[in-house]
Symmetry: C2
Subunit: 467 residues, 2 copies
Amino acid sequence: MNYGSSDRILAELRAWIADAPPGAQLPSTRALTAQHAVSPVTVQKALRALASQGLVESRPGVGTFVRSLRTVRPHDYGWQTAALRAPAHPLPSPAAALRTTGNDVIALHSGYPDRELLPERLVHSALVRAARSDAAVSRPPSAGLPELQSWFAGELGAAMPAELSAPTARDVVILPGSQIGLGSLFRSVVGAGRTLLVESPTYWGATLAAAQVGVDLVPIPSGPHGPDPDELDRAFAETGARAFYAQPTFANPTGAHWSPEHAGAVLEIVRSHGAFLIEDDWAHDFAIDADPVPLAALDDSGHVIYLRSLTKSVSPAIRVAALIARGPVKDRILADLQAQIMYVGGTLQAAALDVVSQPGWRTHLRGLRQQLAARRDLLVDAVTQHLPSAHLEAVPRGGLNLWLRLPDDTDLPRLAAACEARGVLIATGDDWFPAEPTGRYVRLNYAGPNPGAFTGAVQIIGDCLTG
Amino acid sequence: MNYGSSDRILAELRAWIADAPPGAQLPSTRALTAQHAVSPVTVQKALRALASQGLVESRPGVGTFVRSLRTVRPHDYGWQTAALRAPAHPLPSPAAALRTTGNDVIALHSGYPDRELLPERLVHSALVRAARSDAAVSRPPSAGLPELQSWFAGELGAAMPAELSAPTARDVVILPGSQIGLGSLFRSVVGAGRTLLVESPTYWGATLAAAQVGVDLVPIPSGPHGPDPDELDRAFAETGARAFYAQPTFANPTGAHWSPEHAGAVLEIVRSHGAFLIEDDWAHDFAIDADPVPLAALDDSGHVIYLRSLTKSVSPAIRVAALIARGPVKDRILADLQAQIMYVGGTLQAAALDVVSQPGWRTHLRGLRQQLAARRDLLVDAVTQHLPSAHLEAVPRGGLNLWLRLPDDTDLPRLAAACEARGVLIATGDDWFPAEPTGRYVRLNYAGPNPGAFTGAVQIIGDCLTG
């Protein structure tokens, strides 16, 4: 859309209004269209903008008028303070990782891959096809488009050994992004006032969702190989928790990747406590030099609830994820989700299915793997060279991030501010700890824009750290 | 998408597998493509379907194999019963109004307008433009696309008298449909364990959202002219509630429409109790013979929180709504929403803005008004003629529904089942009562498919009622 002509007419009309008396009638849309040589849509857009700024008012069927002058009074919304009270579950602010930025900074803070890592051509053409199809004007079933449910079930089923029974399309619930799935899972599987075990550090979006639902978190220390099984066993026994939220594959932020033996051991503990493991397979499409198998592929007893999103790997505009759960827990979750979203729009579901069904999707994923490898290695090299005081416990074999421990006397907020002042955005590690951080960490995303600037950015971080 | 060739190859492969020994390798995708004269995509789709049914397993880089036979055992998910416990806030089932149906029934039960009442051409072309734009691969700010925020602010501002200050784009939060907005509002403005006043009857989705959040509902009797102001005043005083949820314009299900005097009186009561009025303007685009002004247009003191959806009037695939709230309450709500959805996909926002910015949108709304009028009158005539024992308290001046009271000895579930057996779906009224129903009601939607069948459908209801 072209906002240029709209901005121009807006500026001219503002000048006209400044000279006009209150109540003066503006020229008709037709007259303005001719006078400014723009389309009626552009004129109406400008008039709406003026109305929303309180400069004109429209009287339908009569015309548009300069608004009467009124005394400017500051609004007093103080009464709301008493009506709202303090929040029952104060929410942490959304992490800096969600922040959108301009092109004038080097963004190592984000949780999203840069657009050059997206299958852009596939996305545009899939959305265009979906836009022209019946999906654009019809309402799909609450649990999702059956063909898309089938695709997700098939993907997980294909990773399962033959002796286990694969999930079916009926075990799949389509979600508008995985964040709402986390909240829904925590509410329906755990419940307010009850306990959920989580890795520490863990994904900040999970901590946020848990705070909103009012779930109590018990953190389990987790290193580059996954959570400590003894600690996990003890925490289940001590708390009576019935659920553990984890990212077994390229965990965010640590990049941790559980070995098959470790995954088996954790699953055994979860089973022995009659509990659920909520597997957030956020980095399924971001493998670099490992071919991970979801933990859910090792389970057909309903203990693993599997969350798989396409938002990050397909497009931030295609907010489509799936939840695969077997047994009555699926009905519990679906009822909770329906109360929040009723259903997921069909256009996005059809487009998502279209993208992942194209031969080009596999080609894209192969190319993505190489790009991520090159970017990761570039950033690791820069860190080794220019951030000698930072400790990288393990080079991640997938995912989007490096997780660096800085010296214990680092003032993280000051470091982040100093870097930002020099045009480099970093994510400080505290957001990923459900309790007090165990060290000073930063998370650097190697999937952001402009990898050519990575080395310079890490130099700047090094300068700010020592300076 | 064409599923025909995929179904065919699927059937043939199933037959092949039935004759093959466990572990046998299937022909390569290339061979299957040639043999069945279909595209590789179709072959892969068929193989995925077979994998999700557990008939074959794919070993990446090696091939696809017939799965080993295994003993069929019924799954035992009984352990989940103890892990899940009984739900803290049992949810009512989503109302029958959400049910999707085939073409072989006359659907008077739905809450959605038929596709012939949608601006289908505008929707397809807006989605195609959005699909081709940058919105398809970028992530908008959490509160929404600024231009769309502006549009919603401008729409409400244009309805405000000049002496009030209009909302700005910053007061607007874009939502992926209004249902999630209801939950978020109830949680952040009211809070679990606290009281929300609602009309009775009221929208079932609001009752559902309140149950999920754990908010206590206090129903205020509401007739064709709106809620009783004395009852409302008394309920605020008695309960200490700080919020009232209402649909002042063509309420669902009753069609009630508050006069300006009534709206002023209610607003005064809300203000005097330092409370919020949550205005759900669901039928903004469904006026028939009234030109309603939102209650929010009478308030610039932050007492009215305004919810406006485009989903029903634009397309069920374009799940876009807005919430306009002024003062600190907006920040409270936005924080809650971010924890659930992070952001709303840009494609749908761009497409929604495109549709409502087209000159064709106004033309569409004018045509829609006439169609709704004709459909409503047709259904009212049919009811008058064939359902003499039903009482229609008021002919709605907008919205999508007739709300009929039936004789007190009507067995509603039996009536609905009898109608369904004869191919007519109706929505029984109990879902709309937050407490015990005060009578036997049905809601008949005059915006559903095939209005030519309305008269026959009402005859069938009449037969079932007397039979």
